[in-house]
Each structure stands twice: as C-alpha cells, then as structure tokens.
Amino acid sequence: MDWFPLLLSLRVASLATLMAAVLGIGGAYLLAKGRFPGRGLLEAVASLPIVLPPTVLGYYLLVVLGARSPVGRAWESVFGGPLVFSVTGAVVAATVSALPFCLRTARAAIEQVDPRVEAAARTLGLPEWRVALQVTLPLARRGVIAGVALGFARALGDFGATVMVAGNIPGRTQTMPIAVYDAVQAGDDARAGTLALILAVVAVAVLLLVNRFSRAGV
C-alpha cells in the first residue's frame, strides 16, 4: 500500500485550508462590514469556484498561472521552478476551491453578530481591529469554524481543478482523488475501492474531529 497520495492529500488540504481560512475570514469581514464600490462584484467573483465546473476553474488557473503566463514566468524567475504541476500548484487549486466555502459561511456568521455588542465595545474605547478580533469573530466562531471545515472537505476532495493545475504525477502531485481516478483508469478496481474507502474514512474522521473541537472550544 502506497501512502503517498493520502499524505499528500492531507498536506495539500491542510495548507489550502489554512490559506483559505485567512483569506476567507478576512474577506468575509470586509464584505460584511465594509461599504465600498465593487463589493457585490468581489463577492460574486470569489464565489465563482462554487458555480464553475472544477475543470473549468482548473483551466482558468492554468491559463493565469501556467508557464507561458506573466504570473507563471514571474514565479519561475523568483523560485526557479514552475508553479503549475507542483505541490504548490495543487495547494493553489485547492485553496481557490475551498475559499468561497470559508468566505460565504463566515460572512453570514459575522453578519449575525448583534451590532449593539460591537457598539458597546467601541464605547468602551476598543479600536476597530480589536472589536473585530475580540468581539465580532469570537461571537461568530461557530459559523467561521463550520466554514473552515467545509473548506477543508472541499480541498480534500478536489479532483478537477487539481488535475488540471498540478497534473497526475505519481509520487509528486498525485493526490488521493487523482490516485482513485488513476486506479479506475488502469482497471485496478481493488486499489480504487481501497483508496476510495480510505479517503471517505479520513474525511469523516477529520470532520468529526473538527465538529468536536468546535463544540468543545465554544
């Protein structure tokens, strides 16, 4: 049994969830509290990964980040290797896929926080960033954690975007869902079934864990 795809999947999904959580919670706060032009457009664009087929999303990412694009060239000149078809590429694909789940769920939770509590904090002299970190986000934590858990689930299961951006290179970029696909293609039903079962068990275990922590931590 080759454990590489599982370890890679966990690593990619964890990193992607971390990035999607930072970007998503920050973005959610901005969208919930900020009043600026283009806000609706920003939210629509950030939600695109939910609507677009993952392969289309992957294609766009490949066009924007690929070796022939300005971003891809800049990346290669700085880091010495291409961004696409690497583990980093897989993390980017999973991050973009997970982002809207973190963002939308966190935004709804932030908007539900009673503005009078925030106002009270302000009258006590807290600056706006401390109101956000010490009042709003702690009160919205259930929704925020739920969003991050959803994002992790999405990142762990991504196939379409990852296979376009990171490819299917066994031992390098072959994540669990891609390994399942590969085994099916090769006619290796036993391996496909085992991998699919392991992925399902791991996903359920992680989500149970997150649920438990989010309840215990409240």
């Binding site: 590489f4 370890l7 890679l8 966990l10 690593r11 964890s14 990193l15 971390l18 490949l62 690929g66 070796a67 022939r68 891809g72 290669e76 290797g81 291409p82 696409v84 078809f85 690497s86 583990v87 490819g167 299917n168 290179i169 066994p170 031992g171 390098r172 590969d182 099916v184 293609q185 090769a186 006619g187 864990l209 997150v210 922590f213 989010s214 931590g217």
Partner: protein, 251 residues
C-alpha cells in the same frame, strides 16, 4: 481549538513530499495505450540503469498540453506524431530526439458475456446501444476509430450512439464495466484485458497511428531520458511492444 491547530501543524511538518531531485524517478508522460507495455519497459529500464521510472498515462493531446504549460515530464511518448510536433514547436523539446517507435492498431472490443463477437460493420446492429470511442478532439485512437467507422460506411448510422472516453484506456473501461456495449480501443490494451474478446480492424482502415516520442527534459539533465527513449526504439524494446500488439514503425 489549540489542539486542532497542533494536529494541523503536525500534519504539515510530518509528511513533506519528496523534492524533485536528479536522482528521483524519471518522469515519463505516455499515451494511455502504452500502459501495460511501458510498465514492463519501465521495469527493464530500472534493472538496467538502477533508476526508477514514474509514468503518467493520459490522452496524447492532454499530455502535450500539460508539457506545453510547463509540466516537468522528461520523456513524452505520444500515440500520434502531431502532438509531438506541438511540443517541439512550443520549444519544450529537442527536435533531434523525435523518433517513431511503433504503429498502433485498433480493435472492436466487447465483454465476453454480451453476445457474439463484433466487427466494425456489426456496430449498426441495435444491440449496440452505446459504442465507446476515445474523444477524437484530443485522443489519437478516437480519431482512428472515427476514420475506421467512416471507412466502413457506418459512421452516420452509429454516430448518435457514440460515447466518448477521456483517453483510450478510459474508453476500454466504459465497455469493460458494462456501461457501453462495445468499444473501439487499442490492440495493445485489448491483448491484456481479461474477460473480453475483440476483432482487429485492418491497419488500412485508418490513417497510420504513428506512435512518436521525444525527450522533453531540460538540457543538461536529459541523459536518463535519452537512455529511456533509446530503450523504447531498441530491438529489445520493440520486442516488448510487439508482444502487446504494436507493429514496428514505417521505414
């Protein structure tokens, strides 16, 4: 919450992926009709050179797109010379290393438990409700299948019943899983697939499937890639390919 973060950090630190090194396995992108044959050649290569080979199988069109977009494959073995040209034109390969290594053949494949063996002309029968071919947009075997159907004069009558596989291996999977009644696939896959029977389509029924390869490794790091390419076109390499049903290249 703190404990959760700890678990996360352990995950991130505990399992770093192996870095790409020059001693790492040779990365070969190969058309999916080569799956069984190249897996055997990979073992031969490993015994001879001590270097492991990692294969990525897919449709030639998709693999060539990945290489053009910067995928780190060191050898590209296509089921069609056209896609090798694309990679060379994009500046991702050394034109001097292009070599034809075989001719591909197609067969009509069906499960052993689904009635009598079928030929191309039989496909008009209504018992073949779904006929799987590789997607002709990017899979050379799909192009050959469509040409053979047209040549047999049945394409117009079966067109509405065609279903497309992502690549020729996926196409065989559609039929072997019983989701399509019959498939037009590579002889090199049919020879090793259990539980089926097949009729060979004459080589003249479609334009030759000129299987061509090229070294796509970076300059200065191409030695192992060139060695592998040499193995494929060598006498022992051809003997392995012939066993899976590949004909030797023209000329």
């Amino acid at each position: 919450m703190k404990r959760l973060l700890l678990v996360l950090l352990l995950l991130l630190s505990g399992c770093s992926a192996q870095a790409a090194t020059e001693d790492g396995p040779l990365l070969v992108a190969a058309a999916s009709d080569l799956g069984p044959a190249f897996t055997e050649l990979g073992q031969v290569f490993e015994q001879e050179t001590g270097r492991a080979v990692t294969f990525t199988f897919g449709s030639s069109g998709q693999l060539s797109q990945q290489i053009v977009n910067g995928a780190p494959f060191e050898v590209f073995a296509s089921a069609s010379a056209t896609f090798v040209d694309d990679v060379v034109k994009a500046g991702q390969a050394d034109a001097a290393t292009v070599a034809d290594y075989a001719l591909g053949r197609i067969v009509v494949w069906s499960r052993g438990d689904t009635g009598p063996q079928a030929s191309l002309a039989d496909l008009v029968q209504p018992r073949f409700r779904r006929i799987a071919v590789a997607n002709p947009e990017h899979a050379p075997y799909g192009v050959a299948a469509v040409e053979a159907l047209q040549g047999a004069g049945v394409y117009d009558r079966v067109q509405s019943r065609l279903v497309y596989g992502e690549n020729v291996s996926d196409t065989l999977r559609l039929a072997s899983s019983g989701n399509a009644d019959v498939a037009i696939v590579a002889l090199s896959l049919a020879t090793v697939e259990d539980g089926g029977r097949f009729t060979e389509v004459p080589a003249a029924a479609h334009r030759p499937l000129r299987q061509s390869l090229v070294v796509t490794a970076e300059q200065g790091r191409a030695q192992a890639a060139e060695d592998f390419a040499e193995l494929v076109v060598s006498e022992p390499g051809r003997a392995v390919l012939a066993r899976y049903g590949f004909a030797p290249p023209e000329g």
